[in-house]
Amino acid sequence: MSANNEPNIVAFLCNWCSYAGADLAGTSRVQYPSNINVIRVMCTGRINPLFVVNALQQGADGVLVSGCHPGDCHYMEGNYFARRRLGMLKDLLEYVGVDPRRFHMSWVSASEGHKWKEVVEKTVEDAREARSYEGFRRRQIDW
């Protein structure tokens, strides 16, 4: 947790639904917490579970993965893969002592700008309330 106590969230969004949904939130001037930092990938299926672990290692206080609604994946089944892989990761994180409130998955479509706001608010709120964890050593970045 950072000094100013504001959680820092890394979010992975699929290009077609959730990233477009977040864009729509912008176009509609929906206001939401600035703690969220988005990394665009083409599909949630691209998200290696280790990305999430890596984000927590690098000092993120919470991670959000958001994609197309099940059944709506632009690549047919990528979000199903993501749901399985990351669902398992969530259990694993909890098992190793990471508060499950630090990791969220959501389905936000390209037309759900308002839902995106709600998801962000919930993610930030949960990360704020989550138990502190020391399980991961923060790595020094070397880029």
């Binding site: 100013n4 912008g26 665009r40 083409m42 599909c43 579970p49 047919m76 390209a110 037309s111």
Partner: protein
């Protein structure tokens, strides 16, 4: 790619869209301190010509080899900046965008917060851009043919335009005839053209056009491939009538043992048809179809001694052994024109649609006033006791539109005008009737619409502002209970006929098309276009275009205009004969691939195959990506145990620095 990265960061003000919230000068200073950043600039509109020129000059003069543009969403202008960079000779894929408008300045009010976030997003982009690689996009041939799904006026018009341009067009219609909803209409507003008169010639054209292959009573089963190269499989449902032999004489329908027993879909259930039927007299193709759910022979295996239709058919066209057939073909582009469903007013029980036979929908009214309709165009209505000519007629608008209680917040755009048109038609047929229209607002927005609305009002049609709360029966009359909100007086009007101005809803079965084509829905549940203003006929799936009411409620002029737009968009790949394949596809590092084949199994496009290679004298199997089939989703990559398969531009080594950059900076 051994050059040391020299990065230019370009921060857009976007007028005041970004600059009023993000302190762009501070961000510029910050960006200059980031590793490998040689140049950082701000400009009022980076996407404008001078803005692009700024980037191009720096590339030439300062020798920049990586560009970060911090502006709007990459979904907006990524291609713009790629092109600009390409013009200088730099590889267009050496670009990364930081979305500091849609996902920063527009969603965070506080300057401090927004500025801090802009810095972060730019840092992440700088971290990634250093590691991007040069990519080449490739071209493949496009099949010079198109598929149009749905043969209402939108589909017919789109198919005709494409076919006229000289391309083979497959027009697939689910029902036995083309024509769609427009064929059911009597007159069209505001000109009062007879709908059939203007539509029928087009229906005939599309069936006889040498470039159009009409597949009626057919459904698309499978769609595979990508723009320029879609593989289509269509199921031609069994008509149980030999298409080539049937002459359309209609003897079979007259003699059918269950003649005129079943509600006619075309007449909205107000008239009847036989088990073997032509949906309507002008149907195209004029070939009869047996409805397997109602045909005695098909249902029970027995119809008298012998099926009557078979007996009377002089052409010997009846064929009860017919099976569904499948046809397969290839097209370069697809137009979706699947239309709409009228709102079912049973969901507004207060209007008594299910309870009273003299409460009808606008679509039913169309059939009632139509000369080819069940009453031959006479306005006759059963009031529950007897068939009468109504003296008091009430129209209710916005039934199922602009109504959150049924989940439809949108305006259906046609009800105001079709209600006015129907009021006019009733006035023509029943000069002495009292006609009232209950409304919330009158939206007469199109060419000639306001004039038509004025004309109808002058024809002694009363407009009462206020949506009725209830309709109930008293004696042999219906009572419409409402409040006239202009005079704040409650009204209870006795009427003989209520016409519900039902709105337009997305097709109940649109899910099937969505699954076939990977389309999305907008908030109103209609198909989502690629951009609401600038790409209104495109979809997120390249090579797939939208026409007509499947994209949102529309009147006929707008539908035709959109169909023509979709046709011209679809013709671009067909006319070019080539399509560019995305360069951001996956690649296998054959040196580290362990040949497990997980990626092969996981790829939704069967774009990965196992090949045998020689590694240090050993024949081993490794995965290889077919770039023409790969869409670059990256699902393979997350499954790979040795990180050997990686989508270009979204490699692990390109994403991890982004994570690091975002994680560490607070």
């Amino acid at each position: 790619m051994t050059d040391k990265p020299k990065i230019g960061v370009y921060i857009c003000h976007c007028g005041i869209n970004i600059a009023s919230t993000v302190d762009v000068e501070t961000v510029e200073e910050y960006a200059l301190k980031l590793p490998n950043v040689e140049v950082a600039r701000t400009y009022s509109y980076m996407c404008s010509d001078p803005g692009q020129a700024l980037i191009k000059e720096d590339i030439k003069e300062q020798g920049l080899n990586r560009i970060v543009v911090a502006s709007c969403s990459p979904r907006m202008h990524e291609t713009t900046f790629r092109k600009a960079i390409q013009e200088t000779g730099l590889n267009p894929y050496f670009l990364e965008m930081a979305n500091i408008r849609e996902q920063c300045s527009w969603v965070h009010e506080e300057t401090e917060e927004a500025t801090a976030k802009a810095k972060k997003l730019i840092t992440a982009s700088v971290a990634k851009v250093r590691l991007l690689e040069a990519l080449e996009s490739k071209e493949v041939d496009a099949e010079p043919a198109a598929l149009v799904i749905g043969a209402g006026i939108a589909g017919i018009q789109a198919a005709l335009d494409i076919a006229d341009a000289g391309f083979k067009t497959y027009l697939v219609e689910k029902t036995p005839s083309v024509g769609g909803r427009m064929a059911q209409l009597d007159k069209t507003f505001p000109t009062l053209d007879c709908s059939a008169c203007i539509l029928t010639p087009k229906m005939v054209d599309c069936a006889s056009h040498p470039n159009i292959e009409l597949l009626s009573y057919s459904e698309v089963e499978e769609i595979n491939g990508f723009i320029g190269n879609f593989d289509i499989k269509v199921r031609k449902k069994a008509r149980y009538v030999d298409f080539d032999k049937c002459t359309g004489c209609g003897d079979c329908a007259k003699e059918c043992r269950v003649a005129d027993r079943f509600p006619s879909e075309f007449d909205q259930g107000m008239g009847n048809r036989s088990a073997i039927y032509l949906p309507f007299p002008q149907a195209v193709p004029a070939k009869y179809t047996i409805d397997p759910e109602n045909c005695l022979y098909l249902k029970r295996g027995k119809c008298g001694k012998d099926p009557k239709c078979q007996e009377v058919c002089g052409a010997g066209a009846i064929d009860f052994d017919q099976q569904d057939e499948f046809v397969e073909f290839k097209v370069g582009a697809i137009i979706v024109a699947t239309g709409f469903d009228p709102f079912n007013p049973s969901r507004k029980p207060e209007y008594g649609y299910d309870d009273y036979p003299n409460v009808i929908t606008g679509m039913e009214m169309e059939r009632l006033v139509s000369a080819s309709g069940p009453t031959g165009g006479k306005v006759l209505i059963n009031n529950g006791e007897e068939e009468i000519e109504p003296k008091e007629v009430a129209f209710i608008k916005c039934v199922g539109s602009r109504d959150e209680s049924v989940g439809n917040e949108y305006c259906s755009r046609v009800c105001c005008m079709y209600t006015a048109k129907q009021a006019h038609l009733i006035r023509e047929k029943l000069p002495d009737a009292n006609i009232r229209i209950y409304y919330m607002d009158v939206r007469a927005f199109g060419k000639g619409y306001e004039e038509f609305y004025d004309r109808v009002r002058r024809e002694n049609v009363r407009y009462i502002r206020g949506n009725p709360s209830e309709i109930f029966k008293r004696g042999n009359k219906l009572i419409v209970k409402a409040e006239n909100t202009l005079t704040s007086t409650p009204v209870e009007d006795e009427v003989d006929l209520v016409v519900l101005g039902v709105g337009l809803e997305p097709r109940a079965e649109m899910r099937e098309i969505m699954d076939l084509l990977r389309l999305s829905q907008s908030g109103d549940r209609f198909f989502l276009e690629a951009h609401p203003k600038l790409r209104p006929v495109d979809t997120a799936t390249e090579g797939v275009y939208l026409a007509g009411c499947c994209q949102g409620p529309k009147d006929i002029p707008d539908t035709v205009a959109q169909a023509k737009g979709a046709a011209s968009s679809a013709m671009i790949p067909l006319a070019r004969g080539k399509v560019t394949i995305d360069a951001q596809v996956a690649e296998v590092n054959e040196a580290t691939c362990r040949g497990c084949g997980f990626c092969v199994e996981i790829c939704p496009y069967t774009a990965i195959e196992m090949v045998t290679v020689n590694r240090f004298g050993h024949e081993i199997e490794v995965a290889r990506v077919n770039e023409a089939l790969c869409k670059g989703c990256g699902s393979c990559s997350a499954a790979c145990l040795s990180d050997s398969v990686q989508p270009k531009s979204f490699r692990d080594r390109q994403i991890l620095p982004q994570i690091a950059a975002l994680g560490v900076i607070k």
